[in-house]
């Protein structure tokens, strides 16, 4: 008996786990990330030729970067549990609860911006850990647990906002929030040398992406989470404390949801009850477009970044071309469907080639 395939393996994307959970060793063109880059480039070219305003740094590019940043983090929040083969249906509401905590801290305690952020992140991580704990201890499907949690938090958040504020948003604007909202690095100069026209929230997303990439690529914790997702029984029998890994993955998801909530609040300039309402769908879109499947055991951080970028480019571009927000969804959905079908086709073709050449 020979080993199945004598082909050399493809290099995997820098910040990603092995490409394609179910796929074999695939040729480079089967890498879904490459397709995303091409599609994004083509769309940017198309939009900027149709509407020159698309390349306007102040009007379009800076807000686009800010939006991409938020939805990258939202996607990463979902990615953190997709690694287990789990789902987090409460991703938006976890963000809402955490931003409430932040708002409350700024409003009542008058804490500095970053301290409030830390408080919010802790709340997000705690609520995520709670979900993970229930899932691990009871063995109930993560979909059901987080769905129930979503209902629960939906009620709770609104009640909390009614109790603590005028019912809609905190009036407080902590110092630094406005800068985070409006400034780009171009506003900060050292002598003649100014920074690029990149909004201040972008580094938050970069840190999150690098952190999650590091987690799943190099950290023992992340790898053990992936192994738990790939085969829970084998993981348990290999000495991995699977329950704790499940809790950790969900806590990470909650933490990232909180961060996304903070970034959206910064972009909007207010800590309001509506934060997180629009998170659920994009949270799946970005990782799934990027080639992460729901099966668990493999994730692609770079793919998630690209997936979030693609959706936001489409939104911004079509928006500039006077398409309405709802109409955009049609195209996003079609892109998603086309991308997924193509991905399947590519995987099938590549696998066929791998088999025939062995």
């Amino acid at each position: 008996m020979r080993t199945a395939s004598p082909q050399p393996p493809t290099a995997s994307a820098p910040s990603a786990a092995p490409p394609g959970a179910r796929s074999r060793v695939l040729p480079f063109w089967a890498n879904p990330r490459l397709g995303l880059v091409i599609v994004i480039a083509a769309l940017v070219a198309l939009f900027s030729s149709l509407s020159p305003a698309f390349l306007d740094p102040k009007l379009t590019l800076a807000p686009l970067q800010a939006d991409v940043s938020v939805y990258v983090v939202v996607g990463l929040a979902q990615l953190a549990v997709l690694s287990l083969g789990h789902m987090n249906m409460a991703v938006g509401r976890m963000a809402a609860l955490s931003t409430f905590a932040m708002g409350l801290a700024y409003d009542r305690l008058g804490v500095p911006l970053l301290v409030g952020l830390a408080i919010g992140l802790a709340v997000g991580a705690a609520i995520g850990a709670l979900a993970g704990l229930v899932i691990a201890k009871t063995g109930v499907n993560s979909f059901v647990v987080t769905l129930a949690l979503d209902f629960g938090l939906l009620g709770l958040v609104t009640i909390l906002y009614t109790q603590a504020t005028d019912g809609v948003a905190f009036a407080v604007k902590p110092a630094g929030l406005a800068e985070l909202r409006f400034d780009t690095f171009a506003d900060y100069c050292a002598g003649e040398l100014c920074g690029p026209r990149v909004p201040l929230v972008v580094p938050f997303a970069l840190v999150a992406a690098l952190g999650v990439g590091l987690l799943f690529r190099f950290a023992r914790l992340g790898r053990e989470i992936l192994m738990t997702g790939a085969n829970p029984v084998a993981a348990e029998l290999s000495g991995i404390p699977t329950h704790r890994r499940i809790v950790a993955a969900h806590a990470t998801s909650g933490l990232l949801a909180a961060l996304a909530g903070f970034m959206l609040a910064a972009n909007n300039g207010a800590f309001s009850a509506s934060i997180g309402e629009s998170f659920l769908l994009p949270s799946f879109l970005a990782p799934v477009l990027g080639g992460t499947l729901l099966a668990g055991g493999a994730v692609s951080v770079l793919g998630t970044v690209l997936g979030a970028t693609l959706t936001q480019v489409i939104y911004k571009g079509l928006n500039l071309l006077q398409f309405s927000l709802e109409e955009l969804k049609l195209y996003i959905g079609l892109v998603l469907l086309a991308a997924l079908s193509l991905d399947r086709l590519r995987a099938v073709l590549a696998e066929r080639r791998a088999v025939s050449s062995s």
Binding site: P18, V25, E224, L226, M227, G239, I240, A298
Partner: protein
């Protein structure tokens, strides 16, 4: 006696393995036919070919028809069912939420005006159950039946299309002695009604009690074809199954220091899985074989040692110290006990992950600094073990699922060696592995013992046991029935072991 079905020179190949190589099977009406062979000999493949689950790559199947034998091609399980070949697979094939009656009639639900005709479902099911002379209410949901009752329902289901041929794949694997006796009474009854029954079982005493004729498969070939069972002794049958090849493999004699402190001692251990008063001792450099029939409680004992079942009485001592093992991580890190599972694909490997990760999963803690795994250390470790174990791979980044069975098993072993275990529990190491790889594996295991590892070897493969073990403990009904010092004389040892199992069977 008329021939009902004959399969001639069936060939089936899977990537890398020739599972069946010109196997032949002939069945006559009104007889019970035993199909024997070791694990991996091709029994299941043959059954799947005869029931339309797989299609043969060569050979033909003839079925008695009104105008003499006719060649048949089964494209699907339904084709076989319609042609009168019924089967009870090893896996449960019932819909838990459905009634007994509906499960029996599932292949061809009787209908009236597009709706399920419940009256006819019930009467049909009752007819099938009457063939077996069993008393099960057809309206009971299957989820409320005992395992033995489910087995009977499966047989009734297999008979529902007026099957002339009935294939039973390990029907008594999960039954108690009494339940098995009752099942075989039904098998005899079906034989007397003129059915041809094929019985696949590892339990030789059951075969000798029930079967009339026997076909033995070895390495995908039939080495005995439809011979009357009465002409053979048990030993002859075992010889046919095993072949001479095994006795030729003689591993170098190892010497175990009997005065060395035992690495692992079980002292009067009872568990929540049902073990009672189990006592075993393994010394460094020693291979203790744990033999027994499927369901005797061997794997469960291994899992109890890993903390997956509770130890309710007695004591486990590791290197002389009392050990309370909570989970696998505990067994691994505190007591350096490793467990190579029998279910390689389900419990041993991460098929969709790289080989490197499959091997390094147990040692990431050791390889990491500040929580980050050092890639270079991991690579070195993986390269070391793939070379030591002779794992053939294109690259450590290959997925484990792409490897052959033997190499997968080596990967499954490598992660425990990497973790520096000095006590290794190896469960059915060579199931589904071809003969040559098997021999290499035996050398490997013997080599590990040579290096001073204490090994608890669980195997249902008697020749393997006698080749490898220093002592053989025989387990029966979750207790140790006896222990033998292995002198590697195959005939004497196999008889002694079978006597231990057998003696206990008579006592039960």
């Amino acid at each position: 006696m008329s021939i009902v079905l004959s399969a001639e020179k069936l060939v089936k190949t899977f990537p890398g393995v020739r599972a069946l190589d010109q196997a032949t099977l002939t069945l006559t009406a009104g007889s019970v036919h035993a199909l024997l062979g070791e694990n991996g000999a091709g029994k299941s493949t043959l059954i799947k070919l005869l029931t339309g689950v797989y299609r043969p790559d060569g050979g033909r199947v003839l079925l008695a028809g009104p105008d003499g034998p006719q060649e048949v091609h089964f494209g699907s399980p339904q084709d076989a069912q319609r042609a009168g070949v019924g089967v009870v697979h090893q896996e449960r094939n019932l819909i838990p939420a459905f009634s007994v009656a509906e499960n029996i009639c599932l292949q061809h639900l009787p209908r009236r005006k597009g709706l399920v005709d419940r009256a006819r479902v019930r009467s049909e099911a009752r007819r099938c159950l009457e063939l077996l002379d069993v008393d099960i209410d057809p309206d009971t949901p299957v989820s409320r039946l005992s395992v033995a009752q489910m087995q009977l329902v499966e047989i009734a289901k297999a008979l529902s299309a007026d099957s002339k041929v009935l294939l039973l794949d390990e029907p008594t694997a999960s039954l108690t002695g009494d339940e098995a006796d009752r099942l075989y009474a039904i098998v005899r009854r079906l034989r007397d009604q003129g059915h041809a029954v094929v019985l696949v079982s590892h339990k030789l005493e059951e075969i000798f009690a029930v079967a009339d004729t026997v076909t033995v498969l070895r390495d995908g070939r039939s080495v005995a074809e439809a011979e009357p069972l009465a002409r053979h002794s048990r030993d002859q049958i075992v010889d046919l199954m095993v072949g001479r090849a095994y006795q030729e493999v003689r591993l170098p004699q190892r010497t175990v220091d009997p005065s060395a402190e035992p690495a692992l001692v079980l002292d009067g251990v009872s568990t929540s899985a049902g073990h009672h008063d189990v006592g075993l001792t393994v010394r460094p450099g020693e291979i203790l074989g744990l033999y027994g029939l499927v369901g005797a409680g061997r794997s469960e004992l291994a899992k109890a040692l890993l903390g997956l079942e509770q130890i309710t009485a007695g004591e486990v001592r590791v290197h002389g110290k009392t050990a309370r093992i909570r989970d696998v991580g505990d067994a691994l890190r505190r007591h350096r006990i490793g467990y190579v599972t029998e279910n390689r694909k389900e419990e041993g490997l991460f098929l969709d992950q790289t080989i490197a990760r499959n091997i390094a999963v147990t040692v990431w803690r050791r390889l990491s600094r500040l929580g980050l795994v050092r890639d270079r250390a991991e690579r070195a470790l993986v390269a070391d073990y793939t070379e030591r174990l002779g794992i053939r791979l294109a690259s450590p980044d290959q997925l484990a699922g792409q490897l052959s069975g033997g190499n997968q098993q080596k990967v499954s072993l490598a992660k425990w060696l990497a973790a520096d275990c000095d006590i290794l529990i190896i469960d059915e190491p060579t199931v589904g592995i071809d003969v040559r790889t098997k021999a290499a594996f035996h050398e490997l295991i013997a080599g590990l013992a040579e290096q001073g590892m204490a090994i608890l070897l669980i195997s249902s493969d008697l020749p393997e046991m006698i080749t490898l073990a220093d002592r053989i403990a025989v387990m029966r009904d979750f207790a140790v029935a006896g222990e033998l010092v292995n002198d590697h004389e195959y005939d004497r040892m196999s008889q002694a072991v079978i006597r231990l199992i057998h003696g206990s069977q008579e006592a039960a």
